[in-house]
Symmetry: C2
Subunit: 296 residues, 2 copies
């Protein structure tokens, strides 16, 4: 990739987008940035990125535009809105949506870009803000293979595991499969902690005994110790997880499949949110489950 001439655009400067675009700027690319709140882009403009007043302006100035925003409606607005990216999409440009969003929306963006001779990838990530800061994200990218290969050197500045998952939408579908697994795993881990706690087990000994065998999982290794310490600060927000599960449930219904475990997890997380813990980390599921059992 020619760092002298290639112009990169970035929209969305939250806890994920800011460090991610930072890595690309640090690598020497020329950058253009927009975000809903201009002050949040200050760190990136200090690093040399040029501020743009709209997504359209970013697209106008850039060869490749990345988006990392919040909810599907934000993505729609950024791409299809009045001053949206697609107003300035021309032949040979590429858009890369890294937001976790609807697979159907990813396909719509792909089709709209294609109609203008442009390319599109849906490339959601996992690994959270720590992965974004350390450049160790997993990136699941759907879209045409040659477009993926073209963008891959940039992904490699952002993450460690970069996988082409198939055609347009498949990156989002893969992310949904990831979240579906996590949702019920979190239920299982929190329930085992409640059980062990009520049974009077020493939590540390219990986790040592059940980790490493057939119950072994990332959640036990990384979140169970936080839960037992009463640490519910976010690695990944409850609110965002609810968004992801909601998308997966809509997609599942559209595809005609029944996912009772996901539906239960979604309801339990709605209870976490209802109790005021939407801005806590996903391990705050424990708080709703404890409430269910009258444990204070």
């Amino acid at each position: 990739m020619d760092k002298q001439s290639l112009k990169l655009g970035w929209i969305g400067t939250g806890v994920m987008g800011t460090p991610m675009f930072g890595h690309l700027l640090s690598a020497g690319f020329k950058g253009y940035v927009h975000s809903r709140t201009r002050s949040k882009a200050a760190g990136l403009t200090e690093k040399g990125a040029v501020w743009c007043d709209s997504p359209q302006q970013v697209a106008e100035a850039s060869d490749i535009v990345f988006t990392m925003v919040g909810y599907p409606n934000d993505v729609k607005q950024v791409y299809f809105g009045e001053n949206g990216i697609l107003r300035s999409m021309y032949t040979g440009k590429t858009v890369v949506d890294m937001t976790t969003t609807s697979p159907q929306l990813a396909i719509e963006i792909y089709q709209a870009a294609s109609q203008k001779g442009a390319f599109a990838l849906d490339a959601p990530v996992s690994g959270g803000d720590i992965g974004a800061r350390n450049g160790t994200l997993s990136i699941m990218a759907g879209g045409d293979h040659d477009v993926f290969e073209n963008i891959k050197p940039l992904f490699e500045l952002l993450g460690k595991k970069i996988i082409h998952t198939g055609g347009a939408g498949s990156g989002q579908h893969t992310k949904m499969a990831n979240q579906i697994t996590i949702a019920s795993t979190m239920v299982g881990v929190c329930e085992s902690l409640i059980y062990g706690f009520r049974a009077g087990l020493d939590m540390e000994t219990m986790l040592k005994a059940i980790g490493g065998g057939a119950a072994a999982c990332w959640t036990i290794d990384n979140l169970a110790p936080r839960i037992t310490k009463g640490d519910f600060e976010p690695g990944f927000f409850v609110d965002h997880f609810i968004k992801d599960m909601g998308i997966a449930l809509v997609e599942a219904e559209r595809m005609g499949i029944v996912l009772p475990g996901l539906a239960l997890a979604h309801q339990l997380y709605l209870s976490v949110k209802a109790k005021g813990y939407g801005k806590k980390g996903t391990q705050a599921l424990m708080l709703a489950l404890k409430d269910l059992s009258g444990i204070t």
Copy 2:
């Protein structure tokens, strides 16, 4: 431990018990064995174990008696029945129940043994028949600490991870926590596979993408590849898993805690059994979930 004089008893010669007692006999201990079906003890008597006609006879002949049978009622019969172990429990002897069974039953055995001056451990395992054959089980042992320390050298012939979990019943409670985690994790993994399959994802690519991150778990590494190949042969029987979940649900109700994820998994596994897959492996949950979605 004095291999010349110490006499070990063993009751239960199924896929777990047979290789486990085999390891102890191979280490040079004198052994006494009983099982419901005498022919199943043939391999062990060929290895030098002496056949006994009842659990009581095993207990009469042995210093330490291990039990590895099927269901809580089998454990009750073997300990408290007409020719049960407790008829011949005397000062200084030890009983070790390695069956996964009710924590309350473990406490009853401990108390009954104590009344006769004998010692008791509840020491369920995880790791399945492969772990039993290779001597790589995880052993979660509840009971008095000095009794645990005394038996530990024997456990080390059977497993790799040997943990004293606390007082009587805590081994069983820890095993329940293990099964509670596994139950919902299996739901999550199977649902993600159904989702990915219906979304048209390449299963191998999907598993590569979601394994290793926050969705990483033993079930994805070990059972998901079998599921995608249509291999539902047992590592661990559906019937036994249903038994374990049933015990955990009874204990949870007794302790006054609510475990909706476990209750759902239990119901789904009852459906697996109802469809005739009780003797398949736990990954056969996939078959019931596919049926729910009308996927044949």
